[in-house]
Amino acid sequence: MSKGSIVAGVLAPHPPHLVYAENPPQNEPRAECGWEVLRWAYERCRANIKALKPDALIVHSPHWPTVVGHHFLGLPHFQGLSVDPIFPHLFRYRYDVQVDVELSKQIKAQCDDVGMTTSLVSNPDFRLDYGSIISLHLINPDWDIPVVFISANQAAFYFSNEIGAKVAGDLGHATRRAIEASGKRCVLLASNSLSHRHFVNELDIPEDMSYERIHHHGQYLWDMKVLDMMRRGKSRELLDIMPEFIEMASAEVKAGALTWLLEAMNVPSYAAIVHGYGTVIGTGNAVVEWNPSLSGGA
């Protein structure tokens, strides 16, 4: 068996607005337009990922928060209705997900080996989190690639951003070791926005784009600072300032997904592809791809 590899990593934010605006058959609510720049960014990224023909998509989402360690899905098939608890009027989505249980268990085992606490979901009634569902839909609406879900341990919220980064980093390393041992070609999805201060009101027509802008200028400056680092391949520097970014911009990456991705990919020093940036109810969202085959980083 050849050595497995991470063939790409994507910062894949999960605003339900994007799915709502796209009107896929799985989603009940209907929109007339909205957030096109971000949706087109996802389209470009989607084509790149499709071309890679990965064996599995591995998603880390802040909307599966766990207090004790990291959790993984341990059943091959989950089916159900995901209703966004914050935006139920935008996202009521029927999902049918095939899980790569073998890979889930391999990552779990790598975590266990270094003393991390883990758990496996074996309850078929378990409802998958809407953050993961949204990111996965936006990257692969055909749902024809098996997936691995990883929960977001709450260490950063309990202790500090630095400790959260350590835990996410350890998880990233375990993920890389497991993928290499599996022989599979995998894509990592960090299901996070960047800055995450948002408006606390909403128009009757959510897709009214005259309302959409960044919540405040400081957020935008921070988002551009970190995106510029990504574009320049400055992942190590980005990890260094991540705790400050989280604090200053209320960044959603606090839950660890981006740190996990970068550490799993060996802290890439090649340029990431920023497919697009846009705001959703004031938060900063970017679709960013680390793809060594396109960036000369292989």
Partner: protein
């Protein structure tokens, strides 16, 4: 109690272990037994509905109200899925949900009625419902917990529930679903060995429970912020503010702590509060004009990341940048103004206080009353010349004003570090002022300087200049 909007109120933990695995730990068993006691108690209540506020149902855009008449699902907790599934069906009082949402609308907050099949009801509410109202004897009403709200806003959401009850002609059992301290063990533990995750959390929990056991709900509401800071209160224990607003912000209750135990390190309790005077609603106008303090506005200031969040290197300040209005150097210490809504208005172009770094600097504060030009303790003649004044009354009024400003800044008299006192007649007034001063500051012991000045800008005899910790 006859004529009371609330027949009885309860504070319960919504941890799924209490429903699905109480036998695994002696502490969980005791909590489950306490739940059985209050289930029987609620069965005796003459109420029209059961009203839930759970810290596990978080909203970010205003407030949500469950309005599906029969929500049902099979729920699995995201953290403790290994405990099993929880099938549920609620009967919802949708008329009350609409009435409650309308009251909250009037406060200017975003509201949403939730009538979507499959909407995820939170574990805490489900656990409480299954254990205290398992057969839907009482229809339920459920309101979300806004994750950003502060004291004033959360209290108002509770007050709005009371008004909705009054207008609906209904009486409710109120249930706050919340842990006390909310610090979990972060590794797997043997449930038999479960314990509160730290002694400090345990001590704080017991302090709060002692007050609740005495029925002192308003007193607990005043301590919530400090408790949450010290013991990692569940969603900053803001649910207690909601409950306090609903119950009328008094200490007129007979309290009973049925159980207090750890659930995976968090502080879980079952508490009952029986009103000793009828709970009534406050009308909207009085709550809007209340002197609760503008904590929400303060927090808006404190979380206004415009002031703190500029990245240092590439940031080029723009003349239109909002941060410049505040004169804040980029990425530096907190520096902003605080204008109190409950202390006397400034007589010049200055704020009541300014926070810089870890200090609060108050402007010179006199005895004038909030919302008027009246100065307590002064008699004027028809030409507004001072006939006589009472330095004790004036000093007390100054301290009252200082207290209001500090509280509106998230601080308190106990955090005062330094006071400068200006008297217009030190020979005559020192003794009286000092007597009142000692009553308040004897045990706080800030540093103090008292001087005589020729005059103060209005016909007052005393003014304080205060520095405090925020």
């Amino acid at each position: 109690m006859e004529g009371s909007l609330i027949s009885k109120a309860y504070i319960v933990s919504g941890m799924p272990q209490l429903l699905l695995a109480p036998e695994q730990s002696p502490g969980w068993t005791r909590l489950r037994q306490a739940y059985q006691v209050i289930e029987a108690d609620i069965h005796q209540q003459e109420a029209d509905l059961i009203l839930y506020f759970s810290t596990q149902w978080l909203s970010i855009l205003g407030y949500m109200f469950q309005a599906d008449p029969r929500p049902e699902w099979v729920h699995v907790d995201q953290n403790w899925h290994e405990l099993g599934s929880i099938p549920y069906q609620f009967v919802i009082d949708t008329n009350f949900a609409a009435a409650y949402a309308e009251e909250v609308d009037q406060l200017g907050y975003k509201t949403r009625l939730i009538d979507y099949r499959g909407f995820p009801i939170d574990t805490g509410t489900i656990v409480a419902q299954k254990l205290i109202n398992p057969h839907n004897r009482l229809p339920a009403a459920i309101v979300s917990c806004n994750m950003y709200s502060e004291k004033e806003e959360t209290t108002r959401i509770g007050q709005a529930a009371a008004r909705a009850l009054q207008k609906s002609g209904k009486r409710a059992v109120a249930v706050l679903v919340s842990n006390l301290s909310n610090r979990f063990h972060v590794t797997k533990i043997d449930p038999q060995q479960d314990h509160i995750s730290s002694q400090k959390d345990d001590e704080w929990n017991q302090k709060i429970l002692e007050m609740l056991g005495s029925g002192d709900v308003e007193d607990v509401a005043q301590c919530v912020r400090e408790f949450a800071r010290q013991a990692n209160g569940d969603q900053r224990f803001k649910g207690l503010w909601w409950l306090n607003g609903l119950l009328g912000q008094t200490n007129h209750f007979s309290g009973q702590v049925h159980a207090y135990q750890a659930v995976l390190g968090a502080g879980a309790a079952v508490v009952a509060l029986l009103p000793s005077v009828p709970v009534a609603a406050k009308d909207l106008a009085s709550t809007l004009g209340s002197e609760e303090g503008s904590q929400a506005e303060l927090v808006e200031e404190l979380t206004d990341f415009e002031q703190f969040t500029r990245p240092q290197s590439p940031a080029k300040t723009s003349p239109q940048s909002p941060a410049l209005r505040r004169d804040i150097p980029a990425a530096t210490l907190p520096d902003f103004e605080i204008v109190s809504s409950s202390s006397a208005e400034p007589v010049g172009n200055y704020p009541h206080a300014r926070r810089y770094g870890d200090f609060l600097f108050l402007s010179g504060i006199g005895p004038r009353k909030h919302g008027s030009k009246d100065i307590p303790g002064i008699d004027f003649d028809e030409n507004r010349k001072v006939l006589r004044y009472d330095i004790r009354v004036q000093t007390l009024s100054v301290i009252h004003n200082v207290k209001k400003i500090l509280e509106d800044s998230g601080s308190s008299l106990e955090k005062v570090i330094d006071i400068q006192v200006f008297l217009t007649n030190i020979t005559q007034d020192f003794a009286g002022y000092n007597e009142v001063y000692n009553e308040v500051f004897k045990n706080i012991r800030p540093t103090r300087t008292t001087v005589e000045v020729g005059a103060l800008p209005t016909p007052i005899a005393v003014e304080f200049k205060v520095i405090a910790r925020p």
